[in-house]
Amino acid sequence: MKLSDVLEMVARTDPGLLRSRNEDAVFADAALGVAILADGMGGYNAGEVASGMACTLLAANFARFAPMCNEQIDDDDPAFMARHLASEVTLANRAIFQAAQGEPRYAGMGTTLVLAWFHDNQVGVAHVGDSRFYRLRQNDFELLTKDHSVLQEQIDSGMLTPEEARYAEHRNLVTRALGVDPEVDVEIHVHDVQAGDLLLLCSDGLSEMVEDEGIRQTLQTLGGNLELAAEELVHLANDNGGRDNISLILVRVLGDYAAPRGWAQRLRAVMK
């Protein structure tokens, strides 16, 4: 079984209408089963450096690691995906932090991150900041990440209702980012995956400009053509003002991708 046979991925990034630079970075590789999206911030081109580093470092490390996982996995360790994701994100954080420390013009740079790793009929999602992960399953469109933002904290603490939050200005002050501290608090969840699922990773340039309902309708209407759906979402964000860089990755799950079991697991399965 090859992952590239059961996963279809499309990535888009667009500067939007107001920004002169694109500080987002995306990486998607169906054969690896990895999709990465980062939204950088900082002066000069430091935002681009931070998001670019996050994408490249994580992509390179997964390129080494992921193929080994598909050869053989260890059933005895259910937390294996989460643990691996955490260690990769920690490494990337340290590298960006060190670059920021060592180079005055990168001081204070940081980036959000949302990373999806498809493995063994599951998807492990790591996120930091306000980049998001959505899932469309049949008619259910669900946000599976929770923003690490001041606004979300205000909603959680009851200071703002979600309705008020919609109209709040400067809504996305992030409370966590990659590269700003030697340690990062990364949130990780592992979700089951079903054939037919359509998954979306996006930067706030999309989720701030297009309401969830608009995204859902677009995915439902154009889900048969991921390229077109991705393009339409970028258009929608730009039609609504395009105030920030817009990035997204769409992933469609076409079938089952259980990892091959080693001899010990096969034996155990036979004995059951």
């Binding site: 667009d14 107001l18 630079r21 002066g43 670019g52 400067h170």
Partner: protein
């Protein structure tokens, strides 16, 4: 374009482009930059951009506005000025026209870029390169319908009220009409055959629709009509 980097305690919170002529800063929600902190006055300061110059003005705030450590009432902002309001810092920066090459790239990353499918930044859609539009136009586009010309339901009108309206037979041939601020666009979605527009086969790109255009999808002919 110039921009501001908002930070607190060394943590970058937000990057704000100076896109507007007058940018207000304060605690009240109607400000362009709202800082919800009691040390910030309701209407604390404003930045007015005139041609290439940006002027910072303190709006008689309770706790004052500092630039590079000095209290100011009015100040012409220069590159790398640090504006302080309470515990918040805004760094004023003028974007360089050209991204610097070579030395500016992080050299510490040891990766084989050629092996990666990094999507080129920008450039993926032609539309984004067509320049900056001043204001979003909202729903300023005229109403339109698609009227069936052939088939058992000939004469029936399908109003194009949604952002996306799909036409055709799923599994066979589907096209979509997108309603945008600048008009209606038809695009092929799925199926081996592509829709016909005024007798011409469409390619994979979006095509703008004009009044009385004839569309044929999955053997059904229809007419696009604007309703002024």
């Amino acid at each position: 374009m110039a921009k501001l980097i908002l930070s607190m305690d060394g943590l970058v919170l937000k990057e704000i482009p100076l896109g507007k002529k007058r940018l207000s800063i304060g605690r009240k929600p109607q400000n362009d930059i709202q800082i919800d902190n009691l040390a910030i006055s309701g209407e604390h300061a404003a930045i007015v951009t005139v041609l290439d110059d940006a002027f910072l003005e303190d709006l008689n705030s309770t706790n004052g506005t500092l630039v590079n450590g000095q209290p100011v009432k009015k100040h012409i902002l220069r590159h790398n000025d640090i504006i302080e309001l309470g515990k918040y810092r805004l760094k004023f920066m003028i974007d360089e026209a050209e991204p610097r090459s070579g030395a500016d790239q992080p050299l510490t990353i040891a990766t084989k870029a050629s092996e990666m499918e990094l999507v080129p930044r920008g450039g993926s859609t032609t539309r984004s390169q067509s320049g900056v539009t001043s204001e979003p136009q909202g729903t300023g586009v005229a109403a339109a319908v698609v009227q069936l010309v052939s088939g058992p339901l000939a004469g029936k009108e399908l109003p194009l009220t949604k952002t996306l309206t799909t036409l055709g037979k799923p599994g066979q041939q589907v096209a979509v009409i997108a309603r945008r601020p600048n008009g209606y666009f038809i695009t092929h979605v799925e199926g081996n055959a592509f829709p016909l527009l005024n007798g011409q086969t469409l390619d994979a790109q979006a095509h703008v629709l004009g009044d009385h255009d004839l569309i044929e999808i999955a053997g059904i002919r229809m007419e696009f009509l604007l309703k002024p």
